[in-house]
Symmetry: C2
Subunit: 467 residues, 2 copies
């Protein structure tokens, strides 16, 4: 498959980084800065991040201060929080003020949230009081809600303006790319009454009135809506921006799709980690490599310790059947397979249902249809695996057919039970109002372990007359 | 937490559906259609989908045919493929032609891909030859590549035009919202030389030349680039649209962010399912409930059968230590815990690394740093779990301290090995060029099962002198 521009870009970045690191090594900072200027803001930030990693934050600070003023703010917005804090504490208050002022409002809030309070108040000293008040309101929205994602930089139009007046207004305001593609129409009480897209304005007749062009069946979010729900509305409707209103339906800000892409990545990572039995206790969202060994251990231990308790029961089941096992010691050899298969098939069902709930493919009210489906899937899979195992146990392991029968009937029962457990538990957790991803696959495995052993020993009693 | 507009919307939908179903029941189709007209295209499609489910496709077809012409195409584009096919085969060729003509180009391609060839050729009969050729080119791009996502509906500007000329051109072309926000500048050989956003045009002086406004450091994709890479560029740079070029760097189409949101959801689902040990053999992308029992079983069996083979080895290890086990039968009771914990800790590491690779937080070249980190994390976790278990085995189970020592030293070794296996295997798979998510967690568990048993029996030999 022919490789495109993306690769070229990566090659360019690698080459650029090489040159920059050499120049930094030789203290030729101005020439290193000139190399950086070949890249856009996102790539420049990525290069600076590499410089921090390979040559230390001090060099990054020097290079950053040499950047032209008009691009330093947008590069700064793209840096990881750690580097942002180090830079902002290393530069003068005047420089910091300038950068913070130049940033888009939503990026500004993100940066200020991370900084220590005394630094924030120093930076905001010269900010006009009205904006300081707005910033404080924004800083107070809970994390992960619509309010924490929005920007107040949007275009308001009057419903009585003509297209010409509207376009002139937009030209005067002259804001950032993402934020002017949808314009908002409010009534006298600041209530949102309609939206109109820039593309509609551009292709419409100059003398047409806004009220005749605006859509009134728009979708909007409440300022306290969960960011996950906001993201799923973006995916569902394919919008570039969504208005955010307060409880009185007054427009307070807008959310743009570029910020939602980050939310989706963040929420997906959280879901996948939870399903894998990892709970980010600090909700730090730090990168894997930036997190300390202790933090990693803390995030992974809760589930492991909870499961220890589950294993006490598994151990008790085995102990109570020790007699059975010592009579037919070969039964032990099939325990890992039966428990493992139970865990794996249960996890498969849980994975599908948890993801289906997240993408709204299935809902708790579908539980009867899901149950019936999983029972049949479990039976089909159980039978196929049993046939393979019957052959293996009789022909390869040369055990008696009764041992094979014990293992194979147990297998069918175990797979069916595991499918039921794996599919029903996430639905119950969702119904109760918790995140189904919290039912990590490890939990499904341990529940199905105990069930698997019980079924196995029951079958041993039936077919081998032991226990 | 106060609930916002999202909920109101859901309530409105539920009420609307109720009314529509009642009216359909009473054959009052025109009044049911009027109810539908209160909703936007996405919601109307969702309501029709529910009508199909609860009242049958025939009623959906009737309602669909009653929709005003100007909205029927956009509603059609939002319906699930199954319903689209049923509708298009139930309506007249003339109606079908109209709908397909009215759809955005990328939606049109999606629909035509799903339809049987004879239906496609009938619908395209009256399409101008030039467009038919273009459609055929698009239909031939492989699934999952940039070419299959793009649309040829973009705005081309000349670099010598003024802003006024450009805006007049856009007004004449008058295209769809998403596709005009970025305009493209080509040279005489159709090579892409620059991009300029509509917002720049709107806020710039009317007499300014395009060549002075356009960006030349744009990012673009090759037509054969993988859709996953395209999606990650959107997330990284936060663009609303990206240009797609062929191998000669000629502009062939653009991809808009609304289509990328669907790609991200699809790719995430694929990754999560693969990690959960499910392989979509048909790559059908069908919803959970729409897939047959047999298809579900087929997707889940491959891993389960492969793992059967792994369990043969686990069984062999146990069989060769049957002597040890029959001497100290209580050792069997701790087997599930040790194997289970090994599997769970290994899956935790694999989950973090697989997700880290997908979001480009970690790379295969980081393997030494990852290895060192996981070894320390494994040791920390192993020690914590061992202390808990030592207490439990001595005090609760009342086993001898030597049994406790066997289990606890094995635990430390098992957790460390599982962390190494879980973190390194995905890196190796990525390095080889495969999707790391294919190393499903079930696979990690079974490898660590065998390792766990070997370590356990080794420790039993050391501390208990058996085996």
């Amino acid at each position: 498959m022919p490789e495109g521009q993306t690769l070229d870009r990566e090659e360019l970045m690698t080459e650029g980084l090489q040159k920059i690191l050499e120049l930094v090594e030789q203290k030729k900072y101005f020439r290193a800065r000139d190399e950086l200027l070949h890249f856009n803001a996102v790539d420049t930030a990525e290069l600076l991040e590499e410089v921090t990693e390979q040559a230390g934050i001090d060099n990054t600070v020097i290079l950053f201060r040499l950047l032209p003023k008009d691009i330093s703010a947008s590069v700064f917005a793209e840096l990881p929080p750690d580097d942002q804090i180090k830079i902002i504490t290393a530069i003068t208050v005047r420089e910091a003020e300038f950068i913070v002022q130049e940033m888009d409002f939503d990026d500004k809030i993100d940066v200020l949230e991370e900084l220590p309070a005394n630094v924030v108040s120093r930076i905001l000293e010269k900010t006009p009081k009205s904006e300081r008040k707005l910033i404080n309101t924004y800083l107070n929205y809970p994390d992960n809600c619509a309010g924490s994602l929005m920007t107040p930089d949007y275009i308001s139009l009057s419903k009585d303006w003509t297209v010409r007046e509207a376009l002139e207004h937009i030209k005067r305001e002259g804001m950032d790319a993402e934020t002017i593609y949808t314009c908002y129409v409010k009534d006298a009480g600041r209530k949102l009454i309609g939206i109109v897209s820039l593309s509609t304005l551009v292709v419409s007749d100059d003398d047409e009135r806004i009220k005749n062009l605006m859509h009134t069946d728009f979708v909007c979010e409440n300022v306290y809506d969960d960011q996950e729900d906001v993201a799923s509305d973006f995916t569902k409707y394919g919008f570039l921006a969504l208005p955010v209103v307060d409880n009185e339906f007054r427009l307070v800000g807008i959310i743009t799709v570029d910020d939602i892409l980050d939310v989706i990545e963040e929420e997906t990572t959280e879901d996948i980690e939870r399903m894998g039995g990892i709970i980010d206790l600090d909700d730090s969202g730090k990168d894997y490599l930036d997190m300390s060994v202790l933090q990693h251990a803390k995030n992974r231990l809760p589930w492991l310790i909870i499961l220890m308790i589950a294993y006490v029961f598994t151990g008790m089941i085995i102990t109570s059947f020790e007699g059975t096992l010592s009579q037919v010691i070969s039964l032990v050899a099939y325990m890992p397979m039966l428990m493992g298969t139970g865990g794996n098939t249960g996890s498969q069902a849980a994975t599908l249902i948890i993801r289906g709930l997240a993408t709204e493919e299935v809902e708790p009210k579908d539980f009867l249809r899901i149950l019936w489906k999983e029972v049949r899937i479990g039976f089909t899979i159980g039978v196929v695996l049993s046939i393979i195992n019957f052959a293996r146990i009789c022909l390869f392991d040369r055990e008696s057919p009764m041992v094979a029968l014990t293992v194979c009937t147990a297998m069918i029962g175990i797979v069916m039970f595991a499918k039921i457990i794996g599919s029903m538990i996430p639905l119950i957790v969702k119904k109760v109002g918790l995140d189904p991803a919290l039912i990590a696959n490890p939990a499904i495995s341990s529940v199905s372990d105990a069930v698997a052993l019980s079924i196995y020993f029951m079958m041993a009693h039936v077919f081998l007359g032991v226990g």
